[in-house]
């Protein structure tokens, strides 16, 4: 009963190393995953997120086994 969690770029550097999953109990949305993973209340507006490699919004649902990622605005190319 776990949800995989990834952070990228500046967000990755701000998280403790080794965190790669959170307990799925009581988790309903991406924002809930953020709260549990970071121990902060609110997901900042500039943070982008994905579920299972697809862009998603923070209010969207997640379920056991999903891979949720958080990252800053992309700057490739």
């Amino acid at each position: 009963m776990a949800i995989k969690v990834k952070f990228f770029a500046s967000l990755r550097e701000q998280q403790p190393e080794g965190l790669n999953a959170v307990d799925a109990d009581g988790i309903q949305t991406i924002a809930d995953v953020w709260e549990r993973a970071t121990s902060t209340q609110l997901m900042p507006a500039h943070v982008l997120c994905s579920v299972n490699l697809e862009h998603r919004e923070p209010h969207e649902a997640v379920k056991d086994g999903d891979e949720v990622a958080f990252f800053p605005p992309v700057t490739g190319g």
Binding site: F8, L53, F71, V74, T75, G76
Partner: protein, 145 residues
């Protein structure tokens, strides 16, 4: 259609040549391409190196989706995206987009679309190393239009 993430420096000219060689001789009349190259300065500072981070799996999916979108919008024959990941130095290519089509309007439009779409959608992040030794994440892209 091809999407390539390269961990070592690549040769855009050779990539375009391979891409064109994969199409029948005489089938295309137009090839538009764009190469983004690392500069040695940014926002007034001297930059000595850069690291390109990506999200393995998601990034490739997004680049393929970008090419699919281009094919829906324009009458193109084929398209190529090559993007570096990892450590790069000034003068190194970062990204290549190329499009072959029968006529030039579609190639120009689609090639530019690929760049704008990947810059806004594809999960890459740049971290610059300045001449002072300081490292900083690039926070936003320059406008494309």
């Amino acid at each position: 259609m091809a999407v390539k993430l390269e961990e070592e420096s690549f040769d855009p000219a050779a990539e375009i040549a391979r891409f064109e060689a994969s199409l029948p001789v005489g089938s295309f009349g137009a090839t538009a391409s764009f190469v983004g190259t690392m500069r040695n300065h940014n926002e007034g500072d001297s930059v000595t190196a850069m690291t390109l981070e990506h999200y393995p799996g998601m990034t490739e999916n997004q680049l393929e989706a970008v090419i699919e979108d281009a094919k829906k919008q324009w009458d193109i024959i084929d398209a190529l995206i090559v993007h570096r990941v990892g450590e790069i130095l000034p003068g190194n290519p970062i990204v290549l987009t190329a499009v072959c089509s029968a006529h030039r309007a579609a190639a120009f439009d689609a090639c530019r679309f690929l760049m704008e779409a990947l810059k806004s959608r594809a999960t890459f992040w740049k971290k610059e190393t300045l001449a002072s030794g300081e490292q900083r994440w690039v926070e936003k892209n320059t406008p494309g239009y």
